[in-house]
Point group: C2
Chain length 328, copies 2
């Protein structure tokens, strides 16, 4: 593989902007091309980021031989089609979370990528942030003893726009899919497995999607995760991990800049390094490391776990009777 890795950007929304802001901090990355279904939008985006090529279709993007890996930044409901388009063209893919609408879609993508021996990864950027890496180290060292309970919330209040992606059922809107996924994935990371009991509640708004939701996960050893998400209520978006010997607090865990350790022994430790870039660069760096090493998936965000998380998400939505158009 050539020294510089060529990125293609599929779609030009907020998250695509953030991701490209992050990529600028990686010397061995080049954003080769951007594509939108609107050529105007692609061109405006390419000017903003100094990208050489702008395409008015995703098909052109995946045919570009300079593109080594595509970052999928489309609305949730288009993740499957976008990712499959890339894989069929032989491109590696970093796809925004949630990875797909449901486990069925996720399974197809994973199988296809494995069959074709193509790199594929869910863009759960939180896991690659230095503060979260440190939290995993603290846990591995057993500093807080046996983990008994995790709490994590992610909620914000969006404008009332029933057509927008957050509230529109056609675009797979709702709190769980947009921000709840961070809490579900975090629980999966902390416990290293999926819950064997799931209890949940949702407030379904006028547009038929969950505007607020809460989940309780129970695990084999009696551990609990208590998670919450909202798109019409601002919450305190912290994660707290409670163990038998202490606790870990991660303010704004989904974009964690710091973490603190509070031990029963009285020891306290704060971790808050100066961060490189806006944080999105860390997941991009992981994808690039894997590509250079010829790895087909990341050990930090492996595909079996991505699929397991989608199964958990499916179970939660089934409890509310929330189906997206096209699901049966």
């Amino acid at each position: 593989m050539k020294k510089t890795i060529g990125w293609g950007i599929m779609a030009t929304g907020t998250i695509a902007n953030k991701f490209c802001d992050g990529l600028k901090h990686l010397e061995d990355a080049e954003i080769v091309a951007v594509a939108s279904r609107s050529l105007d939008k692609a061109q405006a985006f390419s000017r903003k980021y100094g990208i050489r090529k702008a395409y008015g279709s995703y098909e052109e993007l995946v045919r570009d031989p300079e593109v080594d890996i595509v970052y999928i930044a489309t609305p949730h409901n288009l993740h499957f089609a976008g990712t499959m388009l890339c894989l069929e063209a032989g491109k590696a893919v970093l796809c925004e979370k949630p990875f797909a609408l449901n486990a069925r879609e996720a399974e197809k993508l994973i199988k296809y990528a494995r069959d074709k021996k193509l790199f594929l990864m869910e863009a759960m950027w939180t896991r690659f942030l230095p503060a979260v890496v440190k939290v995993r180290e603290w846990l591995k060292q057993g500093l807080i003893g046996e983990v008994r309970c995790l709490k994590a919330d992610f909620g914000f209040r969006c404008e009332w726009n029933p057509k927008g992606r957050l509230l529109n059922i056609e675009l797979a809107g709702g709190a769980l899919m947009d921000v709840g996924i961070y809490t579900v994935s975090f629980a999966s990371m902390i416990y290293g497995t999926q819950p064997n009991t799931i209890k949940s509640l949702a407030h379904m708004g006028e547009t038929g999607v969950d505007e607020q939701c809460a989940m309780l996960f129970g695990y084999e050893g009696g551990q609990i995760a208590s998670l919450g998400a909202a798109v019409r209520t601002e919450m305190k978006n912290d994660a707290l991990i409670f163990g038998t010997e202490g606790m870990i607090h991660i303010p704004e865990f989904w974009c964690a800049k710091s973490a603190t350790l509070h031990l029963a022994s009285g020891r306290e430790e704060a971790f808050g390094p100066e961060m490189k870039g806006n944080g999105y660069n860390y997941e991009a760096a992981e994808a690039m490391r894997c590509l250079r090493e010829g790895k087909l998936e990341s050990d930090i965000m492996p595909l079996d776990e991505t699929l397991a998380i989608m199964h958990t998400m499916d179970t939660i939505r089934a409890q509310w009777g929330l189906k997206y158009p096209g699901e049966n």
Copy 2:
């Protein structure tokens, strides 16, 4: 009623000590007598607090004509018998939370007190703390808009003692009854009603009681409460109330000394007054105010709500199959 109100203290454990420490700050209260099933313990307690009379039985306490009101500080499983003994002797009662083992017991006590026209109140002291009074004012003023979600936890790590009141099923142990009650009562106070949907999880320990539990409450209007409790895991014991226009944070809510208001408008307000006494005096003052005014119950902690909370507690325990000896 005479100027000074005479208190009788039933039982001499930790909470009785805290309550008497609080009572010292009320000029118009006198601790007239203390009773324990051990005369030695009663006498030691009476010396500590300068109490004139110490009894080796509860029967003597409730026959003492100088006792206007009895504070019940026995283990949970003895609340019913202790309260009924007092009521039968014509005494007013302030009974520790949880008010009784279950709604059936609570209902009998409430009916009996009402029939006999005797004052009766659950000692949910949190409600009477100045910071919590201020929170109710903020909510009444609608400062955070429509409340959408409440989160509250109360967990600590006790020593492993299977015979002690916290883990012993004979003594109605477990996290829900000991500290979960604070979170359930707080949700009742915030929403002014009981949930119409309850989902919960518990980790039942070796002794058959819940060492850790988590509850989700859903309300008519889609509001949610997410609560947690533990007796073998220290938690961050905060309450957070999320509304459409802002949030309220109450650190260590169960013994709240302060509260902060964070509005979407940017306005922030912190409330943290100098407190009188250790906080237990406020609930005692409320009971005394009611006695002086001839009221049979408190408007802040009314008996219908105490009963409704016990029904909610029953529903939660039923989900876990947790029954205490003597329940059927």
